[in-house]
Symmetry: C2
Subunit: 413 residues, 2 copies
């Protein structure tokens, strides 16, 4: 079963927003065994919408559309789909009552624009949007399905999960898609490919291998489309087992597991705790952990000690050390980690201090220079890393290296 | 002049990555007056790539392709384009020398896969990739242009800026695209649309209005495509002036200016300083500021006081207050902000304490309950906000409300 995802909105074509809706929709479809054939983004243009939906129905069985359902004049998706399906717009009492109630709760008057939101094409099945004012719509033609969803991410997400996926599973006979990802580190892409060349060449033809390079890691993904899930999962497990024998020291995890997820799991299982002391990473390491539900079980305290005074006052870094070695130094990184561990009472603390740029670099310590330290129950370790030249890149990489060092210490390496 | 953006990679279609490349490319093209007609994402499939590029050339003048240029077998874009343009792959000495040098610096051996990266279609112009091993390629057919770029974001970004844009500007006679965005707050989309209906209806036909709702704000964008830039910019300024008279109290800024950018500017101009004390937002407020170059001029210190003990030990929150009112309370929010201000010596401090969920909610304080406080030279203010039900959404919204309160205090509201 194939699907095309269509996102509508001029804001996508001018680069004003990042389209995350199609990512979420793609995951839902893949998880149910539906192959995403193509993703398309187009403007709020009637002719283009019709052309795109017709093409989607030509090449696939399902078209999932988001966007263009707001109450204002620039939103034309509903009218366009009604015309395309030769159906008139009629009032829907359920939607109308719901919109009225939603607006009432927020103290907003119900006007003729809102009344317009309660009009739906006569031929469609209305998908109730509990979280917003624009309903989803389900159209069918010759066994194929067109779904139109609002572009507000969490409204779309709830509709996909609660309305669209159950209906697609009931409407179509679906097979399975299996994706499994192994995360490797320590071998650049081309060396990794040479190391596993014989293994890759001997893969069964229904398994597709992809290399996904990341800063510091290369992910290997095996995919099988529209298969019997169970036997294929077993075969992938066998292939990964063979791979573990070829590159035993280069495997750091599986699936999309991030380093913070691995550490989250380790700390939770061991009932150990964590603190952070960040300078150049500016709170992003703390934010990576605290984004995960359950972080409060182990994450005690983070300090973003941007100024030298706060390194001293909050973390107890020795002013003489800063004067002698500079704020970006092994000594300061160590004292920051140890200070964070001390003030929080955590088992482990990780610190970063570096030059994120664009200003502040010197010949000796150019932009991108970052010292990282981890203080634990046994010892404190520190590491010097060059993290690139772009501010965002430096913050990301320094965070990734810091998490890597923390994981190594947790594993007693 | 019209362009189609094509991103290639199965990882996009299965939702394994978010495509940010096309956002960046769209911005570059728009800034130069090139209209992005469509964005398409397809898999690493030869027939699909050819079909998609041919269709792009049918509907537009330019096709910008990213992805599929790596050294491994799953990357087939280069071979496919060579076949499509009826050109053979030949070795390129400059690319070969560059790849060898790059690998040498990183201590990696040059193997036959890397040798493959130095092969380019005979008919293309090579775009030198200083930051990676896969060169960009520029093809021409009947005056139209096809560009192929690597998918690694910062390699793509440098090539777009340094190679592709100058060449497009030289190759085509380009007109201008003008986008101007006004950011409003306080009126929901449908009420805003009613308030400015007469103004909207009287807009000149070449100005396109878009409503972009956000949590807490609605952006109004006026766009004009392929026009004489200067006179249109003046007309947009006149229209915005008229709008300022209609909704004088609802305009909070212009363009994509974020709240943290506005505060960054205010603090920098006034030479005032800032500290943060975050619980439920987990470091994301500190990270918003420290992501911006120049933040070190005013950002002194952030504390992520996740545990009650750290609220007491680091920020000096009174344990009795926590026991009496709970960690999520007006009193604790105020003491957190005041504590951060005190320990850092900053002029202003902003704090958050709330229940990000999914666990921890009660009938009295459900998930999404957040107390926000700002301590300044004159006073401390606090605000209670309901920030939704999803952890990520709660963290985002609480951060947005906290910045809003901080800006109001900075403006003496």
């Amino acid at each position: 079963m194939k699907a095309t995802i269509i996102t509508i909105g001029d804001e996508i074509l001018i680069g004003q927003i990042v389209d995350t809706n199609s990512v979420s929709i793609a995951r839902h479809l893949n998880a149910a065994g539906i192959v995403v054939h193509e993703k398309v983004s187009i403007g709020d243009d009637s002719a283009q919408i019709v052309g795109c939906v017709e093409r989607a129905l030509g090449q696939s069985d399902i078209a999932i559309i988001t966007g263009g359902l707001g109450p204002t004049k620039d939103d034309i998706t509903k009218k366009t789909l009604a015309e395309m399906f030769g159906s008139e717009l009629i009032p829907n009492q359920t939607v109308s009552d719901h919109v009225k109630r939603m607006l009432e709760e927020r103290g907003i008057e119900f006007n003729d624009l809102n009344r317009g939101q309660a009009l739906v094409p006569a031929c469609c099945t209305v998908l109730f949007n509990a979280h917003g004012t624009a309903p989803g719509m389900w159209f069918e033609r010759g066994g194929k399905v067109v779904v139109s969803l609002p572009g507000v991410p969490y409204e779309m997400e709830h509709l996909m999960q609660d309305e669209v996926m159950p209906r697609l599973k009931a409407h179509f006979e679906l097979r399975q898609i299996v994706h499994r990802t192994m995360i490797t580190a320590g071998l650049p892409e081309s060396m990794l490919a040479k190391a596993i060349e014989a293994w890759e060449n001997a893969l069964p033809p229904y398994l597709k291998l992809a290399y996904l390079p990341n800063p510091g890691a290369v992910r290997l993904r095996l995919s099988a489309y529209e298969v019997e899930g169970e036997s294929v999962s077993k075969e992938i497990e066998r292939q990964f087992e063979a791979l573990r024998r070829i590159i035993p020291h280069n495997i750091i995890g599986y699936e999309t597991a991030t380093m913070q997820e691995l550490i989250h799991q380790l700390l939770t299982e061991r009932r150990q705790t964590l603190a952070t002391a960040e300078s150049c990473t500016g709170g992003t390491i703390a934010a990576r952990f605290t984004a995960m539900p359950g972080a409060s079980a182990y994450f005690l305290c983070g300090v973003v000690s941007y100024s030298n005074a706060s390194k001293q006052a909050v973390l107890g870094v020795d002013p003489d050390t800063i004067a002698r070695y500079g704020a970006v130094s092994e000594q300061v990184a160590r004292q920051m980690a140890e200070g964070a561990r001390r003030i929080s009472g955590a088992d482990y603390a990780v610190s970063t201090t570096g030059i994120a740029g664009p200003a502040g670099g010197t010949a000796e310590k150019p932009v991108g220079t970052v010292w990282i330290a981890v203080a634990g129950p046994r010892r404190t370790v520190a590491l010097l890393k060059q993290c690139g030249s772009d501010r965002g890149q430096i913050i990301d990489r320094a965070g990734a290296f810091a998490l890597g060092l923390l994981r190594d210490e947790l594993n007693g390496k």
